[in-house]
């Protein structure tokens, strides 16, 4: 017994007798590492189970169709998110508000934040970004005045259906609101289109008034080919406003009443148009017509949205952001995609309704380059970008990173860490302002797909979270959208971690839509899961139901993906 003890004692003493300077150093590193790991450990941003099943299928399905999928935020048996819940000042916090319409978006934008808190009463700013370092701020009172005067002018001149052919600009949004407030039907045309496309869109939408910018609108040709045009409002640049735009060239456009935006504003009394038309006794909101561009060379699809469709799309986007991450007056929202695109428009209206600052950048309309779209001041915190622009950024940045072994390894570690821990580093810690990128696949329009691994790379490269949506012609806002806290990266079985093919998905339906799959050809719902042509229903869908014409399926986590 004593011998055994002795041996044990000796070996332990012997072992620790070897303690030297190296041992101390190693021990310090070891203890430091453990402490660091435990101190910096964070819970995932959201519960993993919430990502493991993101939508709920209905328990009963119709023959030839899949179950109906609803997001967690709008379970079966509950109404889908239809409105903005607008409350009159002083109304009880718990009372149910109106669904509202576009007018309420602008009223909210000028009223400022209503919720109690440090931001109460703060409003966002509206900016036009010019070049790289110049931004003009438009006061909300001025924009309100423009909305009133332009709307009044067009209505007085007998306008009814107002086509807006402008790049992303304050005037585009102001005209849209002017139409909403003055009982006019707005028609938003995609900008920078060939002349015959413009004429065809004017004809199909039966517009009688056009608000546009000189230089981009082929006035003579349109007047010759489209005699129904009654009225034209030029939005003139600062630089060329000294020219007399009201003068119509001899022999053309005799019947067309031409005026300029600046004259309408400046010729009115200073006090005119400061108050919005009152809420009481306002007419039913009119429809908004947009054109959906699918593949190049195909005719644009004309879609009429009711104001309720748009408002429902906005409500779903408001709901898509967690309470702690909502847009606020501290945010600068930049749409780097055309506002003629309904998804971008709905997001911009959402930002206005959330009292975020909105920056308009006219080059953004076609810019497939994120760097150009975002380099102006102030730098955006929330950005709407096209998948093509994101892919370009991804390709260029990755080429730079892959050049060195060290940066490549570091990048991979970061991507992995975010994807696996479910914790997103606070953008402010990385000295980055951009916190959210919104991007969307356009169903049937050949937009490049963003796989989860590309999105994972982009999260690290930009330091911003990314929400990837599926959009379609007949749906205001998004059909489906990835969750705010979803950073998972899926490598497909054959690709592996070496950067091969990876899956792309569009998250669950948003709270204003429900999705089902109708059997189509070989794609049938069966034991192996739901698949078929994507059908979407809900208050944000024009006509309440639309078939997207693309074949989709649900993944194991009930997110929507293409087959």
């Amino acid at each position: 017994m004593a011998l055994l003890l002795l041996q044990l004692d000796e070996s332990v003493t012997g072992l620790f007798g070897q303690w030297n300077i190296w041992t101390s150093a190693l021990f310090t590193v070891f203890a430091g590492f453990l402490t660091y790991q435990f101190v910096t450990r964070q819970d995932p941003d959201t519960h993993p189970f919430l990502l493991a099943r993101q939508a709920q299928g209905s328990p009963v399905r119709q023959p030839g169709e899949s179950p109906v999928y609803r997001p967690q935020g709008a379970p079966h048996g509950m109404p889908l998110n239809a409105g903005l819940n607008v409350k009159e000042p002083g109304a009880s916090k718990w009372s149910r508000g109106r669904d509202g319409d576009l007018r309420d978006v602008w009223r909210q934008a000028i009223a400022g934040v209503q919720d109690d808190g440090p931001n109460k009463g703060k409003t966002g700013r509206i900016l036009t970004v010019l070049g790289t370092d110049k931004a003009i701020e438009h006061s909300l009172e001025d924009v309100t005045r423009q909305i009133n005067l332009i709307g009044q002018h067009i209505a007085d001149q007998g306008g009814n259906r107002v086509a807006i052919y402008l790049p992303n600009s304050v005037e585009l949004i102001a005209t849209l609101f002017a139409c909403a407030f003055h009982n006019l039907t707005a028609v938003i045309l995609p900008f920078d289109e060939p002349t015959d496309a413009v004429i065809s869109m004017l004809r199909r939408s039966a517009a009688d008034t056009v608000v546009t910018a000189p230089g981009s609108f082929p006035f003579d040709v349109v007047v010759k080919n489209y005699p129904s045009l009654r009225q034209l409002v030029w939005v003139v640049d600062e630089g060329s406003k000294h020219l007399d735009w009201n003068e119509v060239p001899e022999g053309t456009g005799g019947a067309v009443n031409v005026s300029t935006w600046q004259d309408i504003i400046n010729d009115s009394p200073v006090d005119a148009g400061k108050e919005l038309p009152s809420l009481e006794g306002q007419r039913e909101p009119r429809d908004i017509t947009v054109f959906w561009q699918s593949k190049p060379g195909q005719q644009e699809e004309m879609v009429r949205f009711t104001s309720a469709n748009l408002v429902s799309g906005i409500a779903a986007q408001l709901f898509a952001l967690p309470t702690a991450q909502r847009l606020s007056p501290a945010d600068v929202f930049l749409p780097a995609d055309s506002l003629a695109n309904t998804h971008t428009l709905v997001l911009t209206l959402t930002a206005l309704f959330s009292n975020a600052s909105v920056a308009f950048n006219s080059v953004a309309a076609q810019a497939d380059d994120l760097a150009i779209a975002t380099r102006g001041s102030p730098s955006p915190t929330v950005l709407v970008a096209t998948p093509a622009a994101l892919l370009k950024t991804h390709k260029e940045s990755l080429a730079r990173i892959n050049a060195s072994f060290l940066s490549r390894t570091l990048h991979r570690l970061q991507v992995r860490r975010i994807a696996q821990s479910g914790v997103f580093p606070n953008p402010a810690e990385n000295n980055k302002k951009l916190r959210l990128i919104l991007t969307a696949e356009r169903a049937g329009a050949d937009t490049p797909l963003l796989t989860t691994s590309v999105l994972g790379d982009l999260r690290v490269l930009t330091g911003a979270r990314i929400m990837y949506a599926l959009t379609a012609a007949k749906v205001a806002g998004a059909v489906a959208q990835t969750a705010f806290y979803d950073y998972r990266v899926y490598e497909s079985a054959n690709g592996g971690a070496a950067g091969g093919e990876s899956e792309a998905h569009f998250g669950p339906p948003v709270t204003s839509t429900e999705i089902l799959f109708r059997d189509s050809g070989v794609h049938k719902t069966g034991d192996e899961g739901s698949r078929g042509e994507i059908i979407v229903r809900g208050p944000s869908v024009a006509g309440n139901e639309a078939a997207l014409g693309v074949v989709g399926r649900t993944r194991a986590d009930n997110t929507i993906a293409y087959v």
Partner: protein, 173 residues
């Protein structure tokens, strides 16, 4: 006590053996510990994200005739269906009431509209002719129709509508 004395003597006689070598057994142990923790925290592939058990496949909505509804009476563990005003409810969760041996067992696999309206569980409340027209609910009083609506609302809350009931020969309508 011997042992303690022995050890003290041993330690006293020991010469200083400490060295500054890196690769002593103690350091080797520490190094391997460090390497393992670094691997465990940084490099080990994370467990796959949690997945929930697969959902039950959805029931396909069907069109029943009185005759095809008949087998769903809960016998031998089959589902219990009953029809109210042309809608077929899956009342399997209420098997104790609607299944075999329950107070409402006559309704299982049948059109229960008239019975529910009259609050009677008797056989004569059921439509006899399975191939004939559906019960048009003629002759019911307003209070009885009111009672039927109450039942329907309860069913809508609790049970799933899994199909519709039509007379034989009207399946395609």
């Amino acid at each position: 006590m011997d042992y303690v004395q022995q050890r003290v003597a041993q330690m006293a006689s020991q010469t200083d053996t400490s060295s500054s070598a890196l690769l002593t057994p103690l350091n080797a142990i520490l190094l391997s510990l460090l390497a393992y923790t670094a691997y465990a925290f940084l490099l080990r592939p994370a467990p796959p994200p949690p997945s929930l058990p697969a959902e039950e496949p959805a029931v396909v909505f069907r069109t029943f005739t009185p005759r095809t509804l008949l087998p769903y009476n809960g016998a031998d563990g089959s589902p219990v269906y009953l029809a109210v005003r042309g809608r077929v409810f899956d009342v399997s969760r209420g098997r104790n009431f609607y299944g075999p041996g329950g107070p409402y067992e006559n309704f299982a696999g049948r059109d229960a509209s008239r019975g529910l309206a009259c609050g009677s569980f008797d056989e004569e409340m059921l439509t006899k002719d399975l191939d004939g027209a559906l019960d048009s609910l003629e002759g019911l009083e307003a209070s009885e129709l009111e009672a039927l609506r109450g039942w329907e609302e309860r069913f809508e809350e609790k049970y799933l509508v899994v199909g519709r009931l039509v007379a034989v020969g009207e399946e395609e309508k």
